[in-house]
Structures are given as structure tokens and as C-alpha cells.
């Protein structure tokens, strides 16, 4: 297996009639998935797109997403999976950088992305997965119509392991889009380690509600398809009852999630999770530290569950892995030992390799580490200055070589695994008519939530009252939901440095005090 397309092709050969992917609308076998993706790949190439061209996918978690992503890979295109809720503005910024020639989306995505202005001119063809038109934009066409014109049979453009497979978009150091360049070899190196560590078998069946536009969720789809397992997917915990019922009806053995998601399930739906998830063999938790008390709570609820945690970034997927169940409570705050293909070091303040026990920046290199960022030499040079990925995370290795993450060098806020730069939030909040100045921070444990939530402090213009509901509505109309502050507080002043930069630590203390004091008054 040398490319990601091989996952599907070899899966169809070995496991053809077995169930591969399911969603609330249906299910497909390996053979059906490969045939559908193959036909779509032909349709993509019939547009004139050439190997190495980019093709964006804006679809919710679904069979259609998996088929579209693999169609890109089979066609030899570089797949650019985007968050299903991406706003027109964010997509325009991404498209200006990645220059995709093709966009695969659905009616809802098309409506949202084309609401204010035509979709990026670089895109030559837009396939709508679930619609028949007519559409005013001549670039838009029905995927079903294109597929009808293509013959059955496998199609695969041969690519080399070192060729780019995907651009995975994340938030950059200044809040702009950052396309992480992953080769087939990068992803496969990580997948082989995960399959081995998690001990995937053809009997595994996972409920994956993590966004498939991110490495975490997509990685679990890959792992199951490599192993002959099956995946049920839908969008997050929005329809939480349906997800919990799927654990039982899909006979799930695996359920990856975030600390925030597990926190909510434990607090609100614990008994149902215990009964519906009785067949769960393992869960993998990532995106933020799983608090030890949550691990203990989950382990008590599901005693046979193997709770695993890994450390990884989009740029270096699954660098370290640990089974908290096998390692025991002493290691509940650890993120594990580096996987066999990973070199991981701690760099001390002098820039040299720090000894065991000393805290410094985590740096990583190896075959799973990305090449850099698409069309962004400055950010690539900053993150990969010496052949190592400088993660921006602080931590230490203990005497046994186990990694413990203790902090972060960068300003990014981690909302349930989504990295949000406060500048993105401030840019929008600052345009609210009553706001004179604003600063955003991430706060842990807000309102009983597990993990960080965004809080925006606002300085009001004279004569204006504080309208938290109005601010939230305003942001909901202009930002992806995960970027919308959970709370707003009115303050007299945003603490800033001499150069005007928001002093985030001071601001975090200020808003924490304000929130503890109770609701703001007009």
C-alpha cells in the first residue's frame, strides 16, 4: 500500500461485500464505495483537471464526503477537505491560497458559499452532490448527471508516495488559513502506527462524529477501511440521541471523541452512554487534554473500555499514543510515548535538547510530518526552521520517555479541537456597532464545559448598552459556530502592551473575575 487510494482499492479487493461506511441515510459496501468513487474520479478528470490540481470538498460527514474525498485521491488530485460549516469569507480566503479547480459540495453548501458573491473564480467546475439544478452559475452542475456519463469500473491515477495527497486547512499564527501539505507517505506512516496501537481488526465498527475535514476524524475512517472495519458517520453531537442510538444499532466497538464531547455525554447522558455503548472496546480522545477526573468517570461507566489518548497536530498526526486504561491513573495526564516512526524532543530555552523532566517546546520529525504549508514560505520557515516541526506546545519527557503536555507558546484557542485565533473573533466582534474595542481569550471550564471556550471582552462606545444576545446573534451570522464566543463581558479597557498587542493573560484574569462576579448590567 503506497498511496491513500490503495486503501480503497485494496479494501474493495479484500472486503468487497462488507459494509464500509454508513450514515443516517444509508450504507455502502467496500465494493460500492470504490465503484462510486471511481466513477466520480472519472467525472473529475473529464473536467480537464490534471494530477496535482486541487479539489475542495465542502460536505457534512456522510457517505458522500468519503466518496468525494476518495474520488479526488483516485483522480490523482490533491483533496482539500473543508469544514462543512465554512463561511463564504473563510472559503474565499482558502480558495485564494489553494486555488482549487474543482469544488464538491451540496445544495446547502452552495447556497452558503455563494450567498454574497460568486464562488472563487479559480474554481472551474462545481459538482453538487444532492441537487439537479438549474443553477445560474454556469460552472455548477449535478454530480449525478456527470456520473451517469461515466462507465463503471475502477479508475486510479498512479501517484508516488511522496506526492501531495491532501491540504488540510487549519488556523495560522495570524488567524489566516494555513494549508498543511500532507503526502500519501505522511498519512500512511501515521495510519500504520495507529492501526497497530489501537489493534484494529475487521470486526471493528466505529461511530465517527468528529469532522471528517480534520485529520482526527478522517484518520479513523482510513484506519477502519485499512482494516476491513466499518464506520458510521454523522455531524458531531448535534443529534445526540441519534448518535447514542447508533452506538447500539451499529454495534460500535470504537467511538473517538473530544474531551468536550465526552464531558457533555458523561454529564447529560451517562446512563444512556453506558447502556448503548456497552459493546465499545475502545475510544480515542484527542484535541485537548482529557482531565483525569473525566478519564476516571468514563472508565467507571464503561469498565471494559480501553481509553486511549494521543498527541498530534495536523502537521504531525499521532506523534505519541497512550492507553490510559493500560497505563493506569498515574498516567492520566500523560499523552504517551512517541510512536515507532516518530522522533520527538523537547527543546529548552537555549534551543538545545532538554533532559528528561525539563520543560520546553515539543519538536517532532519523521515520515508522518508534513512538508510545510501550501504557498506560505514564511509560516513554513517559522514552523520548520531546522527540519523539525516546532509545535508551539510546551511539555516534558519523563524518565521513561513518556510525553506530558503542560502549556502552549501560541495564542490559539482550542475549542473542542478546533484551533481558533483570537484575532479572527476580534475582527468580527470589533465591527459590532456598539463595540469600541475588543479582545478574545480562551477560558477553561466555563459553565461546567470540559476544555476551552471563547470569551470576548468588549469596551462599549459611549451611550451604548451591553447586549450579549445581540452580540451572539451578530457573530453567529458572520463566523463559523465554533468561533462564536460562548460569553461576552463588558470591560472598561482591554489590557494592551505598548505596541498595542492584547495582553492575553491579563485579559483572561480580568474576564474570569468579571464572569465570577455575575451577569453584566446594561
Amino acid at each position: 500500500m503506497t498511496t491513500l487510494a490503495d486503501i480503497l482499492l485494496k479494501g474493495a479487493e479484500r472486503f468487497g461485500p462488507r459494509e464500509a461506511v454508513a450514515d443516517p441515510g444509508g450504507t455502502v459496501t467496500y465494493a460500492e464505495l470504490a465503484a462510486g468513487a471511481g466513477r466520480l474520479a472519472r467525472a473529475l478528470r473529464a473536467t480537464g483537471a490534471r494530477p496535482g490540481d486541487r479539489s475542495a470538498v465542502v460536505l457534512p460527514n456522510s457517505i458522500a464526503f468519503v466518496r468525494a474525498h476518495f474520488a479526488n485521491l483516485l483522480a490523482g488530485l490533491v483533496s482539500v477537505p473543508c469544514d462543512a460549516s465554512v463561511t463564504a469569507e473563510s472559503f474565499a480566503a482558502l480558495a485564494a491560497q489553494a486555488c482549487p479547480r474543482i469544488l464538491l459540495t451540496d445544495e446547502a453548501g452552495l447556497k452558503r458559499l455563494a450567498a454574497a458573491a460568486p464562488i472563487a473564480a479559480a474554481i472551474e467546475k462545481i459538482f453538487v452532490i444532492d441537487g439537479a439544478g438549474p443553477w445560474s452559475d454556469p460552472r455548477v452542475g449535478s454530480a449525478a448527471a456527470a456520473l451517469a456519463a461515466e462507465p463503471d469500473g475502477v479508475f486510479c491515477e498512479q501517484r508516488a508516495p511522496g506526492d501531495l495527497a491532501a491540504l488540510m486547512y487549519t488556523t495560522g499564527a495570524t488567524g489566516g488559513p494555513k494549508g498543511v501539505m500532507l503526502t500519501h507517505e505522511n498519512v500512511l506512516a501515521a495510519l500504520r502506527s495507529i492501526v497497530e496501537f489501537v489493534r484494529y481488526t475487521p470486526d471493528d465498527r466505529e461511530v465517527v462524529i468528529l469532522p471528517l475535514s480534520h485529520n482526527f476524524g478522517l484518520g479513523h475512517v482510513y484506519c477502519n477501511l485499512m482494516s476491513g472495519g466499518a464506520v458510521y458517520t454523522e455531524n458531531g453531537l448535534v443529534r445526540v440521541g441519534r448518535v447514542l442510538k447508533a452506538l447500539e444499532s451499529f454495534r460500535a466497538t470504537g467511538f473517538p471523541g473530544t474531551p468536550m464531547g465526552f464531558g457533555m455525554l458523561l454529564d447529560q447522558y451517562g446512563p444512556v452512554l453506558a447502556s448503548k455503548g456497552a459493546k465499545l472496546r475502545f475510544c480515542v480522545v484527542n484535541s485537548a487534554p482529557l482531565p483525569p477526573e473525566r478519564t476516571a468517570q468514563l472508565q467507571t461507566l464503561l469498565p471494559r473500555l480501553d481509553i486511549m489518548v494521543y498527541y498530534g497536530l495536523t502537521e504531525a498526526s499521532r506523534s505519541a499514543f497512550i492507553s490510559l486504561t493500560r497505563s493506569g491513573p498515574d498516567h492520566y495526564r500523560a499523552v504517551g510515548k512517541p510512536l515507532p516512526h516518530v522522533e520527538l524532543e523537547i527543546r529548552g530555552s537555549s534551543g538545545g535538547r532538554a533532559p528528561a523532566g525539563e520543560t520546553g517546546e515539543v519538536v517532532v520529525r519523521g515520515p508522518a510530518v508534513a512538508r510545510g504549508y501550501w504557498a506560505d514560505e514564511a509560516q513554513t520557515a517559522a514552523a520548520f526552521p531546522d527540519g523539525w516541526l516546532h509545535t508551539g506546545d510546551l511539555g516534558h519527557l519523563d524518565a521513561s520517555g513518556c510525553l506530558w503536555i503542560t502549556g502552549r507558546l501560541k495564542d490559539l484557542i482550542n475549542v473542542g479541537g478546533y484551533k481558533v485565533h483570537p484575532g479572527e473573533v476580534e475582527k468580527v466582534v470589533g465591527t459590532f456597532p456598539a463595540v469600541h474595542d475588543t479582545g478574545a481569550v480562551g477560558l477553561e471550564g466555563l459553565g461546567g464545559l470540559t476544555g476551552e471556550a471563547i470569551v470576548a471582552a468588549v469596551v462599549l462606545r459611549p451611550g451604548h448598552g451591553f447586549d450579549e444576545a445581540g452580540l451572539q446573534r451578530f457573530c453567529l451570522e458572520r463566523l463559523e459556530k465554533f468561533k462564536v464566543p460562548a460569553r461576552f463581558v463588558a470591560v472598561a479597557e482591554i489590557p494592551r502592551s505598548d505596541t498595542g498587542k492584547v495582553k492575553r493573560a491579563d485579559l483572561a484574569r480580568l474576564v474570569a473575575v468579571q464572569l465570577a462576579a455575575g451577569p453584566a448590567k446594561n
Binding site: 460549516s85 455531524n235 458531531g236 453531537l237 448535534v238 443529534r239 445526540v240 440521541g241 441519534r242 447514542l244 442510538k245 464531547g261 457533555m264 447529560q268 447522558y269 451517562g270 446512563p271 444512556v272 464545559l449 444576545a469 451572539q472 446573534r473 453567529l476 463559523e480 459556530k481 462564536v484 460562548a486
Partner: protein, 83 residues
């Protein structure tokens, strides 16, 4: 619209911070950005507070839409002593 339905409407508008024009009985979790997993939990808690009921978790997982909420609230109110 019954009193219960009217009260529910107010709670949905207030909790999810949505406009009245976006409200209808078929509105379902996930239809609007504000009705995400956290919005759903907040909505159920607000409804429980307002009507002084506590949904069994096995019932709560069946609530996905405004009409489900209406039905469930009426079922719980009917079970209250003196109803």
C-alpha cells in the same frame, strides 16, 4: 397556539438567540448554527427550569425538534401531581 407552545417558543428564541422568522415547529437540532450540541443541552435545561420538570435521560434522547419538545413537555406536565 397553546400556552405551553407559546412559552416554548419564547424559550427557543431566547436560548438559541434566533429570530422569530426562523422559528417553526419542524425546526430540528442542526438546522441552525445555534442549535448545536451545546445549544441543545442549554435548550433542554431552560425548558426543564421553565416548566419545573426533569426529563428522564431515556426520554431526552428522543427530543430532536421543536415538535418533540412540545410533545415531551405536555407528557411531563400531564404526569405532574394535580395535573
Amino acid at each position: 397556539m397553546s400556552d405551553v407552545d407559546q412559552k416554548l417558543k419564547c424559550i427557543v428564541l431566547e436560548t438559541l438567540k434566533i429570530k422569530e422568522a426562523d422559528y417553526h415547529e419542524d425546526l430540528t437540532a442542526g438546522d441552525l448554527p445555534a442549535w448545536d450540541s451545546l445549544g441543545h443541552v442549554n435548550l433542554l435545561m431552560a425548558v426543564e427550569r421553565e416548566f419545573d420538570v426533569a426529563f428522564e435521560v431515556t426520554d431526552a434522547i428522543d427530543i430532536e425538534s421543536v415538535s418533540d419538545l412540545q410533545e415531551m413537555v405536555k407528557k411531563y406536565l400531564a404526569l405532574k401531581p394535580g395535573a
